[in-house]
Amino acid sequence: MKLELQGITKKFGDFTANDAIDLVVSPGKVHALLGENGAGKSTLMNVLFGLYDADGGQILLDGEPTVFSDPGDAMDAGIGMVHQHFMLVPVFTVAESLMLGHEDVKGPAKLLNLDAARDKVKELSERFGFHIDPDAIIEDLSVGAQQRVEIIKALSRDAKVLILDEPTAVLTPQETDELLEIVGQLRDSGTAVVLITHKLREVKAIADDITVIRRGKVVGTASPSDSQEELASLMVGRSVSMAVDKEPAEPGDAALTVDGLSVVDEETDITLLDNVSFELRAGEVLAVAGVQGNGQTELAEAILGLTKTDAGSVTLDGERLTGRSIRSVLDAGVGFVPEDRTEDGVVADFTIINNLILDLYDRAPYSKRGSLQPSVLRENADTQVENFDVRTTSIDALTGSLSGGNQQKVVLARELSRDLKLLIASQPTRGLDVGSIEFVHKRIIEERDKGVAVLVVSSELDEVYALADRIAVMYHGKIVDIVSPDTDRDTLGLMMAGAHSKEEVA
């Protein structure tokens, strides 16, 4: 089945998310839709899938104009979608998930025909080598397995066009490779695949055609043989350097010492952080790599004191941080960039001015004799917005109205405005566009060169390699090993799945 989008336009109020987009997807091809976050890729696919109504343009299936009023229509027409956030009910079994929405019933009472669904799961699972148990509960499955359930769901409805929305965002490198292999199999069996992504490596590995979208418009097509730099500059609209320019680190004395740190979840009794010890020297970047949910978040929060620790200690320049209030930890010279910036990083309903002094509001010169000094605050905001290149109409704008990249710059500006000894940055560039990533990375390296000890937590291997002087890999709450950044991706990927590196690389 050939799918064509012609002049698709979608507006949200004054904002044009999709501006007259054309796209042709042919059977047996992988078509990559490349663009930064917020470029309008997902909006386009949601229009195609019937979740949004388009304001203009039309969808053609094999040359016939078609209108999808809801996702059911799209699925009936042979379009399947694997969403970035899985559309699976956590308490359902795989078989139940498969049948939801187009249930097969049997008998006079018209009860669910679960056996048929089980057989279907087994059949598809065997055909593609998925190893999925039809009676497994979704929430017990690994993320990769859940994604395979989503693919089975789409295939069970005879999807001729399969849309994968940022499918690798949550996968380990190995799972990513497996997924790309599956995509190849699907293509060879005649399915048209639309791969929505901002990851150039995947595009180059699997795509047949590439369409690049920027700010809601198609800015061009590219070939998989183009270099990563070419693709990136098409995506961003200017030339970008993929590597972070940095001098070799000149580490000083040990600044941060983490010794036997453990965190146990009070409610479930699960050990989230298991006897973690390491040293971080002034002027070096230690990147913590690992698949999401292996204790990295808890490590960062435990150092700051946000999470209660059950054993172990954290010392910074000989001062013990464990057991102190967060306020006094911050005062000891710790900067913290939280992983969920909209939730923990900024107060979305505050202006940029106020977000910039969230941790400084009670000090001179920002406040005097218990009252804030508006003119000083404004001056501070003007300087910071300039220094950190925050793109905003005004410093009085609400921080929530900024793009993700600019919000992150506000967070960074605030955290770096104190004299730091230690900077903890959790997923510092998650969801940011390439331009902002470049900027954030540059500032982090600048801090390192000033002699600050930097702990970066990231599940993006590209980021880990770009920043790290040493890499600590976490798995199941433990540090598997600390290795040098010239360790290859495959080895790192295996370590992220729990395999130990035999050799101690320091």
């Binding site: 559309m87 956590p90 359902f92 017990d140 050990t271 298991d274 709450g477």
Partner: protein, 432 residues
Amino acid sequence: MSAPVVEPDALAHPESGEGRKRPRSYKGPIALGVIALVALVGLGFFTSSDTETTFSFAKNSDFFTIPDLTVPSLMAVIVLTVIALLLAVYSLVLATNHRKPGIWLPVVYGIAIIGALLTTAGAGRDNTSIQFTSLLTSSLFLAVPLVFGALAGTICERSGIVNIAIEGQLLAGAFLAALVGSMAGNAYIGMVVAPLAGAAVGAILAVFATKYWVDQIVVGVVLNLLVLGLTGFFFNTVMSDNPNLNQSLNMQSIDIPVLSSIPIIGPVLFQQNLLVYILYVTVIVTQIMLFKSRWGLRVRAVGEHPKAADTVGIKVNRTRLRNTILGGAVAGLGGAFFTVASGLAFGNNMSAGKGYIALAAMILGRWSPRGALVAALLFGFADALRVQLGIIGSDIPSEFLAMTPYLATILAVAGLVGHSRAPAAENIPYKK
């Protein structure tokens, strides 16, 4: 550098691993132990050593007669509470080994404690015995509005709408059943229209929850007060001016042939009125429909992950609207219990908080019709016990007994009966 050593197990099941044992939970065992100790000391103190307690099980209609059981009171109390204490210790041992007891333990434990309580209550009354069968019969009867209410809650909450308005739906059902039944002079007609009143209250809740995204708990509470006010107003004006609009009607109890003659079970289950038989059917049908039918699968999907349901073409808000109205209707039917099915005229605030207890039964029953039935029966039993002990004039103050269902509710809701998880999307409006 050398090749990494791969642990095959870790790669095959990246989600499994050490540190994932069943968490130790001492809440349950401690609660069991404390209650057993209190029972041992308290009941032992109330029971004198030279008395006997008689239990009678028989009814005239039985095939054969089970003889009365007479036991020495103090001895029986001590034996039963010590059994309960041992069970508490056993569950503590299991907990330290990260294990959970089977369902038999709380059941046997409950029987032991209640047995001890009954023994104390019936001690030293030569002419009055504990009427065990009629105790169970009235337990079931008193549980009727709770079961309907808990089913209503389950039907709504499984689709993601919190139904605090059960209380109001019960009351509205009771009112309309009495009014229409009196006008028609027929209790059954009253029962048939009762669901309409509940459905109307449910519809208001549903519209506010799905169209205007108002907090469902707030709307529910407001609706309860609204129904209380409205029915009270009509009771004091129209009904008191025209007594023939609010008569005591009666629904005959219907004996099922053969089944009703089985000792104990027969009189309890099969000598009831029509509403109770409807209850059996409703519980069974809802249980099957919710977990085995297309409707149930979709409802549960909407209550757990509405967006996922939407992406497969299920209309989330329409499903919620329908379920809330359906749930309201079920609660309205339960409301008929208070008036036409009990042979009573309507009275102000007749539901008297039963709707909230029903909500607790729903939670205790873990949002399943079967569980709701069991939980509601437990509450019904506590209520029936209070009534019977009042009749035989027990030494135990009836105020304490009146409190037991509520105490049980608090313990239940506090999660002492194990982890129960509400539908994930409950009380979260679905906005597209």
